[in-house]
Symmetry: C2
Subunit: 476 residues, 2 copies
């Protein structure tokens, strides 16, 4: 493990010099320095999927932390390294674990970029580069906030732990084991993360949960080869029919899943969460129209968001059997495969769900094989009602001068469970990036306004949280 | 239209010269001549799918008929031409309409042929060439039988009509309209055709019917694009689920189709046909074992053949929705398509069946579109109990010195309905080719034994039928 000691290069006696300065004035004074550090990090490729520059970027991020007088270390995992840092302020103070990632998506196709992906370029008030928003431009604001608050003598009485993942864009395969092995070191009171875009309306988004994921393949094979449907039709079983008949028993006419136990362990929304759902910006008409759906399939806001955030799905992600080309082929297929993804909600467990499905299939269609594909991800969801949650909401509202869109859960999945389940922390996401960041795509960008507001948001969150006692942080 | 007049080239005063000769002795004397005519026809490519040499082959076949003193004509259709010929023997005699096809399957891949596909080559008593068995080597025996019987003064008192299709390998798209337009010209009492292989046991096969075919696509589209299954799962309908739920209602737990009217117009087997089914060579154990099926899905002989020959199918020939690749993709598909082929049995009508299915879908899943793909083919089935059928069975048994495998219907489909439905003829197939003819594949071949036996079979059939009155020919 490499330990990057605080550097003195930028040590200008900060802390004394700027004690009387406001945060805004200080940020103004450091504009070029912070942008230089940001752009230097963007110039270093760190494409985890391609193993391109990831270790180099980890060392550079560690150096950056050192230059900001935060002890950083590059720590090994079973995969690509994490960058870890701590700033202990007071043993009795609450501890914030800040999670981000320094790896980036592959930049391809290069030709679609207006300026090169690893050469940050400012145009119209935006920084264009791979990782500008996802996530280098959203993890640095936390570090800059600490640096700036300390410089003006206003560092909130919190302990800070920074965990920067090098494999997030690959689904963080090594993170759970790393967290498990480093339980003591990572002990904290609250997880905080900035990733993704804020609400398209311009209002800030605050996210308290994610759904989990279990991905299955159900496969049926009867004859050992494809057969002529005339010469064998009616006398050899058809695996597509077997899957169709099996699947059809899994949902009732209203789409409710009938597999015994499928909704077990589902934690329904609290009255407060129901209020939040009703307050989310939503137009049923615009939603169906934008997707070309007949209006009658739309749901009212409350139902829509409860279905999306608080109920598990049983989605057919793929169904493949027989002839898939144009026109006719009269084949009796040998094999049929259906891919199913199940979004899990708090507090469902992927293993228990797997066994439920496997038992159901064994009982109803013993000839069908069930197998899990990819790694399962448990769900995570934290309360938005604790004093800590309320403090974060307040800090965001005050900084943005806008009412946050408080989202009890995303419909999608992120591996937050190592924090919520292994470390027992409440989680919260406060995205700093502009809605048109085009992350994962060419011309990824972060608006400079969003970047500087990110630093001020982190500073406000740290300040609000520091006013709380440790008992104010309660995992759901 | 080209009329090919009888040539005098091979006219050796046949009829007087050979009056006392036996058929076998005469065939022996003509061995080289018949093989020369056969090989000349094989050397002429006639690949209908590629429009390769088809017209040339039609003219050559017409010339060949002329050389055998049968008036031949090349007649236009809306597609590729047919070759038609007549030999009127006596106005009061029954008329046999002999159907065959002079077009062939594409020969590709060339490199898999031991000898070139259009250069007939004899190895180990077999003629290797494209079309050697399918169907040039099975249509010529009828012509040679007429020629030989006439030469020995034993031409049976029948009227002969020959109809040789140039599009059979494409599904005979122009044949129904041609037959319809030429109803008068094609008037006859019995259809006779030799195509396909005889029974693998070496016993002759006699086939009295085929199932029909209707091919449908059912398509469901909900959202106008594929969606993220997390961000939209539970709030946007999934077209694969829509099709699964719809399809599942179409069959009960035992596989019986529940669509109202699906089994209407099904003509069940007669007591005689049931006896034939029970007598067909079949081992349930060998059948399931050869296909790698669990023994419990096998049916007993009677059930097996009744399902295959006398009941319509509702086969899923293809099901396609969402992600079809390896591993995981969490997509909520925009579209799902299922391809269904329905094998129809006597006396079901494809149009009526189409409307039944379309009505059912409109009632149960109005968002699903139904469309027919390709041309529908009505079924055809004739009685095996008429005096004419019995005469043909007798002729085959006597010639082969083996008990025929009498098959009331094939499971598969051939466009025989223009003959049975438009002309009202009883149909019969007597395949002359060896079971390992590998038709439609490289190294297609016809054993010379099968070829010469084919001529003797045609001769015996003509002779037996000529003893009958016209009233002995009854369409079912």
């Amino acid at each position: 493990m490499a330990i990057c000691r605080p550097s003195n290069r930028h040590n200008m006696g900060i802390g004394e010099m700027h004690e009387e300065m406001s945060l805004d004035s200080y940020l103004k004074s450091q504009e070029q320095r912070y942008l230089d550090l940001y752009f230097r990090l963007l110039r270093q490729p760190s494409v985890s999927a391609q193993r391109l520059g990831v270790e180099e970027c980890a060392r550079l991020l560690c150096d950056t932390m050192g230059e900001l007088k935060i002890n950083g270390e590059v720590l090994p995992t079973t995969g690509l390294p994490v960058v870890y840092g701590e700033l202990q302020v007071h043993p009795a103070a609450p501890t914030l674990l800040i999670y981000g990632h320094y790896d980036v998506q592959p930049p391809e196709p290069y030709e679609a970029w207006v300026s090169p992906p690893f050469e940050p370029t400012v145009r119209d008030g935006r920084v264009y580069a791979r990782g500008s928003a996802d996530n280098k431009g959203q993890l640095l604001p936390h570090l800059f906030a600490v640096d700036a608050l300390r410089a003006i003598g206003a560092l909130p009485r919190l302990n800070y732990k920074f965990l920067f993942d090098g494999e997030e864009e690959m689904g963080s395969p090594s993170l759970p084991a790393f967290v498990q092995a480093n339980r003591e070191r990572l002990k904290a009171d609250q997880l905080y993360c900035s990733d993704g875009p804020y609400d398209p309306s311009g209002r800030p988004t605050i996210l308290f949960g994610v759904r989990g994921l279990l991905y299955l393949e159900l496969e049926c094979e009867w004859a050992n080869r494809d057969l002529h449907s005339g010469q064998f039709g009616n006398v050899v079983p058809n695996p597509a029919w077997t899957l169709v008949k099996l699947l059809a028993t899994m949902k009732d006419a209203r789409g409710h899943v009938t597999i015994p136990g499928f909704y077990d362990e589902v934690v329904p929304p609290t009255p407060h969460e129901r209020q939040l759902l009703a307050a989310l910006p939503f137009s049923e008409k615009d939603f169906t129209a934008s997707l070309g759906l007949p209006p009658e399939v739309g749901l009212e806001a409350q139902d829509h968001f409860e279905a999306l955030m608080f109920r598990p799905t049983l989605n057919i992600a793929g169904f493949k059997s027989g002839y898939l080309g144009e026109g006719t082929k009269t084949v009796l297929p040998s094999k049929a495969v259906v891919k199913i993804d199940i979004r899990l909600v708090e507090s469902q467990d992927p293993d228990r769900m797997y066994h439920r499905i496997a038992e159901y299939v064994a009982r109803h269609a013993p000839h069908v094989k069930v197998r899990q594909v990819g790694g399962a991800v448990p769900p995570a969801r934290s309360s938005s009602e604790t004093p800590a949650a309320q403090a974060i909401i307040r800090a965001v509202r005050d900084t943005w001068k806008a009412e946050p869109v408080i989202t009890p859960s995303a419909g999608g999945t992120l591996p937050m469970y190592p924090f919520t389940k292994i470390l027992g922390l409440p989680m919260v996401f406060v995205p700093y990036a502009n809605p048109d960041e085009t992350n994962h795509a060419p011309n990824e960008n972060m608006s400079l306004e969003a970047f500087w507001r990110g630093i001020r948001t982190s500073a406000a969150v740290f300040t609000e949280l520091s006013a709380l006692d440790r008992s104010a942080f309660v995992a759901r």
